[in-house]
Subunit: 178 residues, 2 copies
């Protein structure tokens, strides 16, 4: 695994986030040497779930979305979970963050239901991307080119469909960071 | 309250359906004399939730989506709940049902996250409607005219935003049935 020492990665989350889509990128990027910070809609902790509905654990966040300075990170991860993604997409600060990351050229890695935030932020248009299949119509209607692949890399945008795609998703993000 | 004797209303549901959006229309229309039947993606029962995530109760369904004959009903209700609506929208049979109801001119009452099914079925285009606010972008991108009102009636399409709108939502459906 490539050495990610000196790299900082942010993960943005709300309640009912899909556990593996938070924990796996966090732990694997940390193990590779990156500093990984989790930012929540609110301070404190978020409830993770498995399969969208089964409560798994509380995960403490390192700060709120307002604490996240895009200039200070090297990549952003947006995990899924239906309820998490539905909550994140309406947060103006979350929309600002993904717009800033998209414009910066830094890797923007979005998985499962996470791409709803790209739709709400107006970032899907003209991009080739994937997601959980229920979002395909929304992404198509937003002007995106939705494809059914385990990981899609379009410029600095990295997307995957579900927790089963996490190995390919994390590898693509690692490659983009090195 | 108007007498709904002789009227048959179907409600279509998946797991993690918002409790009040199933129970309130079911009980109020039944109390007015209507025969109300609940059809699930699967046979058996569905888990209801409050506020999208707190488990509330199991509700037995009267049949599956395949058992629902649109010719035999006078109106259809599509409740919300983020996870329920995300599951329903990808069911081909659910998409067929709402298309048949839309074409029939029978009342089609859709609340909260339920309008995702209209988006996936290609029914939002050119319609004036409301929903939970997180769907506003999706409905706009689908060609719908999204407005922020407690109940919107556009032809046979009746839509509302959230459980707080249920009194206006159920009244509009009752009016359409009489």
């Amino acid at each position: 695994m490539a050495d990610l020492s000196g790299r900082t990665v942010a993960i943005i989350v709300a309640d009912f986030i899909e556990d593996a889509e938070l924990v796996t990128p966090r732990d694997e990027l940390s193990a590779a040497g990156a500093e990984v910070r989790v930012y929540g809609v609110e301070a404190g902790s978020v409830q993770t779930v498995e399969g969208d509905t089964d409560p798994k654990q509380q995960v403490e966040v390192d700060g709120t979305l307002d604490d996240l300075d895009v200039a200070g990170i090297d990549a952003l991860v947006v995990p899924g979970g239906t309820v998490n993604a539905d909550k994140l997409r309406v947060e103006r600060r979350a929309q600002e963050i993904v717009r800033e990351v998209a414009e910066s050229g830094k890797p923007l890695a979005v998985i499962c239901h996470g791409p709803w935030l790209l739709v709400s932020a107006g970032l899907a248009k003209g991009r080739r991307l994937t997601s959980y299949p229920s979002l395909a119509t929304d992404i198509h209607n937003a002007g995106g080119d939705w494809v059914d692949e385990e990981v899609v890399v379009d410029g600095n945008l990295i997307t995957s469909r579900n927790p089963g795609d996490l190995p390919a998703f994390v590898k693509a993000l690692q490659d983009a960071l090195t």
